[in-house]
């Protein structure tokens, strides 16, 4: 019996995870000791995120593999870490006013978001199935709780339970898939798996294939791709708005990072067996997401479906596999972060105590009663639809580029047609904002911190649309 070999420990490459964990615990502790005014927690959380972002550059000689090849600091992981920090920071900022309004206990809330972020960073940086599993679970567990954090609200609880049950169910499949993969290749390291596959030292092929499909299911669930998306609309609708925004961006990005890594790093050799499957998933994801959104009257639900369709576009990047595709993926996620948080920012801002104003008809006349807010929402929606010269367009352009470069013309054409469909429901919101008479005077209280999120969203969306150059060169290794 061999002794378990001592892992090589490289805490420096783990720095972001460590820093953020420390700050998270700090937040938890502080919550106990400071008084009623919890605004200090926000400050600490944001500082923590900032420190995390900075510390992710502790190693710059990418790629750095550590912990026996379980953990990596590379271009993608660093970029994703930045996205996570950004999205978590935006989520926290977005929650400040919301939590005050909805009387949510903030101590747990912030620390859960931060813990979730830790999970996301692990997820994006892991190159080992076990680590990936852990990352996913850290993220998921935090999200289950966050979804249900409005404890007095039936919808919130229902969303949490649905998410939890389905999430656990999907975890079972994911785990089974990982097990089969491990069983067939004899290792949990992505590099090892790739090696085993390319050298043909795998067990039975059916088991391997089944493992791959199970992984598709597992990751598909996390990124909300059809047919594993069913939780998303309900949970997005039921969860508190800032949490919804957060779920749509951060955890999804993390899941995509892992999805991308597992499929392109571990299983390029199996590409023929999953390419078609993923293509089909991508196409139906786009269609179901966009078609589903058309009928919606609740803005959060509409954005949920929209988020599903965006998962479809992003899957194209995984199918394209190339390094261009990975850059497209991160760029898209970044752009998506800005516009989604912006849009949810507007949604949050429109809510009032006891009345969340989530129906589309509540948006009637917004464009003229609050011109800037209307303009902001218009920009976010059009960017989500992919209209130039906004971030969403450049992002889509990037993804399509990556796919066309690899010759996936049909996929791109279908994606493009979907974009056209998606305009329909994004425009529908604009129709309400500008073309319908308001049903009553809108009472909008412009809470400054939420406004800040919207402004950041606008700046990001426009900047990435007009001058994506600097970010592009960052995204491309």
């Amino acid at each position: 019996m061999d002794l378990i070999p001592a892992p090589e420990v490289d805490l420096i490459s783990l720095a972001p995870v460590l820093v953020l964990s420390v700050f998270t615990m700090l937040v938890m502790l502080m919550d106990l000791f400071i008084g009623k005014n919890k605004s200090g927690l926000v400050f600490v959380s944001l500082t923590g995120l900032l420190m995390t972002a900075v510390s992710s550059f502790a190693k710059t000689d990418w790629p750095v593999h550590s912990f026996g090849g379980s953990f990596v600091v590379d271009h993608m992981s660093v970029f994703f870490t930045m996205i996570f920090c950004l999205s978590s920071a935006l989520a926290i900022l977005l929650s400040v006013d919301y939590n005050k309004r909805e009387k949510i206990r903030v101590g747990e809330y912030y620390s859960l978001i931060l813990f979730c972020t830790v999970g996301m960073i692990i997820l994006a940086s892991s190159t080992d199935l076990i680590m990936i599993f852990l990352g996913i679970e850290i993220v998921s567990l935090c999200l289950y709780v966050l979804a249900g954090i409005r404890r007095g609200d039936v919808r919130s609880s229902e969303a949490a339970l649905k998410y939890f049950l389905l999430g656990a169910f999907a975890t079972g499949f994911l785990l089974y898939g990982m097990t089969l993969l491990y069983g067939s290749t004899g290792t949990t390291k992505l590099a090892g798996i790739a090696e085993a596959i390319s050298s043909g030292q795998t067990g039975s092929q059916p088991l391997l294939t089944m493992g791959v499909i199970l992984l598709v299911l597992g990751f598909g669930f996390k990124v909300a791709s059809v047919p594993f998306h069913m939780w998303a609309p309900d949970v997005y609708q039921g969860a508190p708005t800032p949490v919804t925004a957060f779920m749509a961006v951060g955890p999804k990005a993390a899941a995509f990072a892992a999805f991308f890594r597992v499929f392109t790093e571990a299983m390029p050799g199996l590409a023929p067996s999953w390419e078609m499957v993923l293509s089909i998933v991508a196409v139906i994801t786009m269609f179901v997401g966009n078609l589903g959104a058309i009928m919606q009257t609740n803005i959060k639900r509409l954005l949920a479906y929209s988020s599903i369709s965006h998962a479809g576009y992003l899957l194209i990047a995984i199918i394209a596999k190339s390094s261009l595709a990975s850059s497209a993926l991160v760029f898209y996620m970044l752009a998506y972060a800005f516009m989604t948080f912006g849009a949810f920012g507007v949604v949050t801002l429109l809510g009032r105590e006891g009345k969340e104003n989530l129906e589309l008809k509540d948006y009637s006349g917004l464009g003229f009663q609050a011109p800037l807010l209307g303009l902001a929402m218009t920009i976010f929606l059009l960017s989500l639809g992919g209209l130039p010269p906004l971030a969403g367009f450049v992002a889509k352009f990037y993804i399509f580029q990556a796919a066309l470069k690899e010759g996936y013309v049909t996929l791109v054409v279908l994606a493009v047609l979907n974009s056209a469909i998606s305009f329909y429901y994004y425009l529908r919101v604009i129709v309400f904002m500008y073309m319908k008479e308001p049903e009553g005077e809108l009472q909008i209280s412009l809470t400054p911190i939420t406004l800040l999120v919207i402004i950041i969203g606008i700046l990001g969306t426009v900047e990435l649309g007009l001058f994506p150059g600097p970010v592009l060169s960052l995204a491309h290794p």
Partner: protein, 521 residues
Amino acid sequence: MFLTFLTFLPLVGAIALAFIPKEEEGAIKQTALAVAIADFLLSLQLYADFDTTTAAMQFTMDIPWITDWGISYHVGLDGISLLLYIMTTMLTAIAILASFGVKKHVKEYMMAMLALSTGMLGVFISLDFFLFYVFWEFQLIPMYLIIGVWGGPRRIYAAVKFFIYTAVGSLLMLVAIIWMYFHFHETVGVFTTDIMLITQQINLDMIEQKWLFCAFFLAFAIKVPMFPFHTWLPDAHVEAPTAGSVILAGVLLKMGTYGFLRFNLPLFPLASVEFLPYVCGLAVIGIVYGALVAMMQEDLKKLVAYSSVSHLGFVMLGIFAFNHYGLQGALLQNINHGITSGALFLLVGMIYDRRHTRLIKDFGGLAKVIPVFTVCFMIMTLSSVGLPGTNGFIGEFLILLGIFQNQMGFAIVATSGVIFAACYMLWMFQRVMFLEIKHPENEKLTDMTPRELCTMIPLIIFVFWIGFYPKPFTKTFDASIEHLITQVEPKKTHESPGGHHAAVATPVKMAKAEAGLHETH
């Protein structure tokens, strides 16, 4: 730099308007008008400085934009785009002047108009695919809002239809653009989206050309609109406010034909020749079909909208004549249609403002009540009919002359369009302006106000100017058309050895030579 300044001036104006308080509607209107007029007057400088002897791009500006992808901010004008550009600035000014009567949300309206102007101008100057696409899509939004917010009862339906229809086409074009981008990299080794560069150097085989042609065709055919992609147009026109219709007919439709000239012909000459019969067929169907359907319309705006389908059919036919006459006619007809249809929509808008109806049966006998209006309307009607001496004739004549040299069958059917044009326009005119007054409301109509007259007079001047002395306009086209023909021609004759272009020139010379002989005998 000057071109960039001109293009973005309206946008800057729009932003400036944002700082004027909502209540000061007068100031808002005046500022908007001042910006638009300034833009127009300054754009005349372009005409003055334009060198008509070269087909090269002028007033160019090329600065890197997204260097990672080889995208640059490259703009310029040539003979194909110059007049469209100036017409756009002019129609914007006129449209703004014409919409002083707008009732609600004046500020937003004016901002949308100015932003729209920048979008349209950008389309005509872009020399980079990416940039082109950005402007191409960007102008949809203000137009969408103008139709959707300030439009008629079915405005939302019309606006969404307009937006989605156009977007479907242009998104496929986007795919084609990206595909070409990589293809260009594979074959030439450069990542670039520069239109000029790609046009010059790209090497596509027949199959590739066909696919790409189709993608571009769809985008532009929807915009033109060619039969059977035209149904968004009547809806959009009917619902849009007056100025919206003016811009829509005057400029937006021209972006489609411009696209054919800028992209389809030079980029895909083989496919253009291959698809020629189909495109011409659709154009001819559009001419006759648009005219026949226009004849039955009960709504004035719809009538003019369908007449646009017919007129734009002529333009498409001219473009696909592939010879100097046809192309020149097409380019001129672009301008003509902008002027004439724009004016017709303005006129319809004027009586709509007075009577709040556009149904032909609600009018009749107006000639007696509002004579000045009648004269203007008559002039524009005749211009639309293509009466010699007005602008419409020159364009149509050249187009038909051009297509007759190559495609006699299409030419004959298309020429019959002149008969139908007379039918629907004059019949409409009679029912609206002549006969006895049936509705007492019509007896008290007021004639055109000075402001309305101001919107019409420039257009009337152009109707006759182009009709009698088109040279200042056509001379800007010549070099670019020659260049365009050389881009299409060698590949075309290679494809079809019995190319018609040469066949036209020979009898001319022979006839002249022999005539000379004859004289000396």
